[in-house]
């Protein structure tokens, strides 16, 4: 009774917007504190306390704000805090005349950004916790504080991105996460591949940011504002205009909205790893595994999705841009999923899986179902973070081995990790009632509906591609699980009856027993790293994975599809619906639940289990993997083609990077020959002129002067004779006179 009344009092209280700024700034303070003083901290536990403490406080604050938001009426669920006005943009010429715009450093906590902040801080905290175990080697060599400071800085940037109340703050976060991604991918910068991967991610993101900026500028030119609330409020007025003329081009508002949508989508492609800018994400696996989980699976890569949802008032009125999003999403989903089929590196499989799942989310956005796409962001964050962290545990237990051919049989040795990853696998495959079923099937249904009731052929095509991608997803995930956890352990020093292992590429840069961190009793008795048995990782590593797996198990019930309303309601869709632009064309949910039921049933009972069964038959039933080997033998080119990721990297190298380097070399040659030549020529010319001047001066001018002097000298020589200095001579002359 007392507690209930306390809760209700807390909920009815107005939200304290004054603490909103602490949510992003606490991790920033943690980053600054750790970055500035962490090097001198003798005990890494101090670094842990600062990093995890700031994250936990931030998470609790988000929870408080979120709980208070829940207590409000749906139309009041928005809290704004303006910290200071960042800069004034006076006299910029926009469509509505000259604007006097103040760019404020402002935060906005509403259902969408609140949910994202909850995800970022919650999953972020679990990943921080995991890092304390995973980075056991770095704890002792003095680079640990750097890692933790980067992680906190990343969370700060990501919170700016999602909580920013206008596009400027969003862009600040957008660039900040790109920077942190670069720093964290290149964390092991002494290894060349990591440094190159970081550079690749940064440059690829810059290409996307170019599109994002152009879209941003166009929005500012048309609306004359950057504040999300203002933009959304103005949309109807802009749409009502018959024509919009910018830069001498006159078109209907929809045309401009399409242009903006496409430009912004280029930015989303870069950040969220869509075709053609997805190439950086698989390479980003060069970073530490917690980074892959935090940045490249759960949070940063979803910023493109978040941005599109934020900008739904643009997209919902831009049919061409939406079609582009749908098509690119479907294409990415199927292409990336097929690449994941033939990878052996456990993290690479998960990386392509991430790209593919992001494609699914974009498909949902493209179908106009922003809440479905956003919901998949959340469920994906849970199960993919669990999978990535689980893979991190596996890699650590296997002494930094990443090749799945050298694993196997870990089920017996790592029960917690196995159970968590198993749940996450079922979730990503879309088995009822795991969360992936609800989110992925919602997306596929919305896409299908686009064809079924909208008559769009593109939607049908996208739906078919999505279904194939879902099939492949279930297949490669079971393949991953079987190769890693079933059979017998094939690590160094163990029997390998089927000849499955490959020479390990692991660089043993640390002492052999460092891999296990805390559990000193593990394999130390063997005295060396060979023939050891992998053991379960410490609690601070398996616990986050287990929590995430639990969320992946139950998360789906937050958004039950309408047709399954007898299970529960679609909380999530209702939750963010106040932020979605209402087109007015409310076509009632006319049903067709029969078809939806059939599709759902097929997907979860036949389609995904079929793929899983196929993978099981291929890899688990026959431990020698004879069937996939025979398949590869039969289609060697196909396997080679897929295993090499369709040679996209090579194509980019040949088509863009090579010519760019060529152009650079040409420009350099031009610079060194023509420009430097001109400068040197000018210098040489000046030198010659000055030599001539010097000769003229020394010979002609000085010569004339000397000539006058010489003449005078010659004349005076005669007169000198008179002045003998002898008084007698002078006296003689005087006598003569």
């Amino acid at each position: 009774m007392t507690m209930e009344s306390t809760v209700s009092t807390a909920l009815s209280m107005p939200i304290h917007s004054s603490v909103l700024w602490l949510i992003p700034f606490l991790p920033l303070f943690g980053a600054i504190l750790n970055g500035a003083t962490g090097r001198r901290a003798r005990n890494p536990k101090l670094v842990d306390a600062i990093a995890l403490g700031s994250m936990a406080l931030s998470f609790l604050l988000v929870l408080c704000c979120f709980a208070q938001l829940l207590g409000q009426a749906p139309e009041n669920r928005s809290v704004n805090q303006t910290l200071w006005s960042w800069f004034e943009l006076g006299g910029a010429k926009v469509l509505g005349g000259v604007t006097q715009n103040t760019m404020a450093w402002a935060y906005k906590f509403d259902p969408l950004s609140g949910a994202m902040a909850l995800l970022v801080t919650g999953v972020g905290f679990l990943i921080h916790l995991f890092s304390t175990g995973y980075m056991a080697e770095e704890r002792n060599d003095g680079t640990y504080y750097r890692f933790m400071a980067y992680l906190n800085l990343f969370v700060f940037s990501m919170l700016n991105l999602v909580l920013g109340a206008n596009m400027i703050i969003m862009f600040l976060g957008w660039e900040g996460v790109g920077l942190c991604s670069y720093l964290l991918i290149g964390f092991y910068f002494e290894r060349e591949y990591a440094a190159i991967a970081g550079k690749k991610a940064f440059v690829t993101n810059r290409i996307g940011d170019f599109g994002f900026l152009i879209g941003f500028f166009l929005i500012f030119m048309i609306f004359g504002a950057t504040d999300f609330d203002t933009l959304m409020g103005m949309t109807r007025g802009i749409l009502a205009m018959p024509q919009i003329t910018l830069f001498g081009i006159t078109h209907a508002p929809t045309w401009w909205f399409n242009l903006i949508g496409c430009c912004l989508f280029v930015g989303a492609c870069g950040k969220s790893a869509q075709i053609p800018l997805y190439v950086w994400l698989p390479d980003a696996m060069a970073g530490p595994t917690p980074v892959s989980a935090l940045i490249h699976a759960a949070t940063m890569v979803t910023s493109g999705l978040y941005m599109i949802t934020r900008m739904n008032f643009i997209y919902i009125n831009a049919p061409v841009a939406l079609s582009l999003v749908l098509f690119i999403g479907a294409l990415t989903a199927i292409v990336a999923a097929s690449m994941g089929l033939a990878q052996y590196d456990i993290k690479k499989v998960l990386a392509y899986s991430t790209v593919s799942q992001l494609g699914f989310m974009f498909m949902g956005m493209g179908a106009g179902a922003f809440s479905a796409g956003m919901f998949h962001v959340f469920t994906h964050a849970f199960f993919k973070a669990a999978l990535f962290l689980g893979s991190g545990s596996v890699i650590m237990a296997c002494h930094h081995e990443q090749d799945m051919r050298n694993m196997g049989g870990l089920r017996k040795h790592m029960p917690w990790t196995f159970a968590s990853m198993g749940i996450a696998t079922l979730a990503i495959a879309g088995i009822f009632p795991f969360s992936g079923f609800f989110s992925k099937d919602e997306i596929l249904w919305k896409v299908f509906e686009g064809w079924y009731s909208g008559g769009s052929t593109l939607s049908l095509l996208a739906w078919i591609m999505g279904m194939l991608a879902a099939f492949m997803t279930a297949f490669y995930m079971v393949r991953l699980m079987v190769m890693t956890f079933y059979g017998d352990y094939r690590g160094a020093g163990h029997a390998d009856p089927y000849g499955l292992t490959v020479p390990s590429e692991v660089v043993h840069h640390a002492a052999p027993d460092d891999g296990h961190g805390h559990d000193a009793h593990g394999h130390d008795a063997h005295g060396h790293g060979h023939a050891h048995v992998p053991t379960e990782v410490p609690w601070n590593m398996w616990l986050p994975v287990a929590i995430l797996a639990g969320l992946a198990l139950i998360g789906g019930f937050l958004n039950i599809p309408h047709s399954l309303h007898w299970i529960g309601s679609s909380h999530f869709s209702e939750w963010i619906s106040p932020l979605l632009f209402q087109t007015g064309a409310h076509h009632a949910h006319e049903g067709a639940p029969a078809i939806e039921y059939i599709l759902m049933g097929v997907a979860t009972l036949v389609w995904a289990p079929g793929a899983m069964l196929l993978a099981w038959v291929f890899y688990a039933q026959d431990p020698s993997w004879a069937r996939p080997k025979a398949f590869v033998k039969r289609f060697p080119e196909l396997f080679e083609w897929v295993n090499a990721k369709y040679y996209v990297d090579e194509f980019y190298e040949a088509a863009f990077i090579g010519p760019c380097k060529q152009l650079g070399a040409q420009l350099w040659a031009f610079d060194s020959l023509a420009v430097d030549g001109m400068v040197n020529g000018a210098a040489r010319f000046t030198l010659i002129i000055s030599h001539a001047c010097h000769w003229f001066d020394a010979n002609i001018v000085d010569g004339l002067v000397n000539l006058v002097a010489w003449i005078l000298q010659q004349i005076s020589l005669g007169f000198r004779k008179f002045q003998s200095g002898r008084v007698q001579n002078y006296a003689f002359v005087k006598f003569l006179a």
Binding site: F719, R720, Q723, S724, G725, R726, V727, Q728, A731, F732
Partner: protein
Amino acid sequence: MPSMNAVLFISFLLFSVGVAGVLIRRNVLIILMCVELMLNAANLNLIAFARHSGTVAGQAFALLVMGLAAAEVTIGLALVVALYRKKDTIQVDQINLLKG
């Protein structure tokens, strides 16, 4: 009583010897002596003309000149001593500071 012309001629010869000595000789002492010769030639002239005109003014002049010459020689010899101390010589051809 020698004739006026003879006296004037002797005086002329004395003066000429003095001038030639001043102009030709290198030794400062000799030059000083020659200057004395020229003064005495002038004295002779003064006395001759005084006698011829029958007045004593000329003779008084001659006495004055003698006194003057004595003073002049004193200063001259002092200069010679100073010169010798400075230049270690009394040969005038070696004293040519004014040579251009």
